[in-house]
């Protein structure tokens, strides 16, 4: 469904060219959950920005359902470490924002928003403002908004990086449940190998900048996954070792 063909991206800054992504070929199937892992600042986010149509590749093409992306790709929902909630709107109005943009009447959009807010476990917080919520709650608001918006594809850029380890697990569980229910395709960028293996059908290891694909590993752990206990299985450890073996090289070179 998502197709990257020989995609490269470089940025110019003060007469200096920085290659962020080089020569990436990648095909992502519908309903697949793909995790892209690599050192911080290696150009993973640039990859997502190109799928979202926010960046134009320097060379190569990005296709979404067979059509070349030339403008903002409105089929995707984007979630980053930052919440991107509108601070002057309540939870309910934030979640209903995409419906408001497409002209859904107030009564209907509030009703639907309250439905998904309830579904992500935020009942009772509908009329709070984002700054009154904890980090985990704001993530739930983002997930609810993406859910209501009906995005076919969720692009997640280290969405849970700022959360503590336990809260992360809760959010992983919620994410897997929602993606499964909505039949979403998920592209997750992360630097957390545990997170990548727990969530994904396939993990891609990126090199340091410029990002190239170094290793591709299928994750054949059964679904639905128990996000807490899956990490204690032998299969998980084997996958972890294989991926870490390759990923380690990127960090070792870093130190030299």
């Amino acid at each position: 469904m998502i197709d990257l063909r020989r995609v490269s991206k470089s940025f110019r800054k003060d007469d200096e060219t920085v290659d962020a992504v080089r020569d990436i070929n990648l095909t992502i199937a519908q309903r697949e959950i793909v995790a892209v892992i690599g050192p911080s600042g290696c150009g993973k986010s640039t990859l997502l920005n190109m799928i979202a149509g926010l960046y134009v590749p320097t060379s190569g093409q990005v296709f979404y359902k067979g059509a070349r992306i030339s403008d903002v790709n409105a089929n995707v929902g984007y979630m980053t470490q930052k919440d991107n909630l509108l601070p002057w709107r309540t939870v309910c109005d934030n979640v209903a924002f995409p419906l408001e943009l497409s002209g859904v009447a107030r009564g209907e959009r509030v009703e639907r928003a309250l439905g998904v807010i309830n579904h992500v476990g935020l009942k009772g917080f509908e009329h709070r403002y984002p700054h009154e919520l904890s980090g985990g709650m704001r993530k739930r608001v983002c997930l609810a908004r993406m859910l209501l918006y009906g995005a076919e594809t969720a692009l997640l850029d280290e969405p849970f990086a700022a959360l503590d380890a336990q809260l992360k697990l809760v959010m992983h569980d919620l994410l897997l449940r929602l993606a499964n229910e909505a039949g979403q395709t998920v592209v997750l960028v992360t630097h957390d190998l545990m997170e990548a293996i727990t969530l994904a059908d396939r993990v891609l290891v990126c090199t340091r900048r410029p990002a190239k694909l170094a290793l591709e590993q299928r994750i054949d752990l059964p679904r639905p996954r128990d996000v807490l206990n899956v990490r204690f299985t032998k299969e998980f450890k084997d996958l972890y070792d294989v991926l870490w073996e390759r990923l380690r090289l990127e960090y070792q070179e870093d130190r030299l």
């Binding site: 979202a52 926010l54 903002v72 790709n73 409105a74 995707v76 929902g77 984007y78 980053t80 930052k82 991107n84 509108l86 601070p87 002057w88 924002f97 995409p98 408001e100 943009l101 497409s102 403002y129 700054h131 918006y149």
Partner: protein
Amino acid sequence: MTAPEADTSAGLDAQAGAGEGAPVAAGRGFLLLCQTILGIGLLALWQLASGRLVDSFFISNPVDVAQRLIGWIADGSIFLHIWATVYATLCGFVIGAAGGVILGIWLGVSPFTSRLLSPYLNALNALPKVALAPLFVLWFGLGIQSKVALAAVLVLFLVFLNTFAGVREVDQDLVDSARLMRASRFQVIAKVIMPSALSWVFAGLKISVPYALIGAVLGEMIAANRGLGYLVQYSGSQFDTAGVFAVLIVIALLAMGLNAFVDLIQNRMQRWRMTGR
């Protein structure tokens, strides 16, 4: 440009109160008493000095000033002038504010146009706007329009600069996320950029209110047949020092009234700002 957080209204009162502990309530009554005594003392000094130390032609005296004020109030003529000035101030403020907000948003969202126009806008902004007054008299005549124009130009640049800065401060990630949710350009401006820049716009509106009054009074001083600016100019040209002082008192009261009005509105907006941050 003034950041929304900047509080220009705190003034001396706030500093006077700071650092004192419990006896604030008692201190306030005492302060008021001292202020009143100081005022009466100064008036008495003025009255005594006039004609004895300084020629009363130059400084008049409080009794004459009060008589002049009472006379104007009794025959109602002062209200005609006050109304003319208030009207020009408000019209100028509204027109300038609307123009400044529209210009600020437009240039804020159009990087090319703003870079194209920036040297010209800088030149216009650096120009003392008061120097445009003769031009406005030529264009708009001696009536109220030329005063409105002068007030509007003063307000416009202040509001424009604040709005522009506010629009530039908008979080680009919020704009991108709205675009990914299929927001049109107009929706991005109306639902993301404008609410986000609102506190900056209000800061600009607040600081520009006194400038609207300055514009109106100056316009009236240059060429008019009514208004407080005209009255102070006319009194001066008649060597009527008491009249000049009387008008100055009215203008000061008017300015204080406008500032109090703005503070009132801002306090009501404070609720929004609490939730907006």
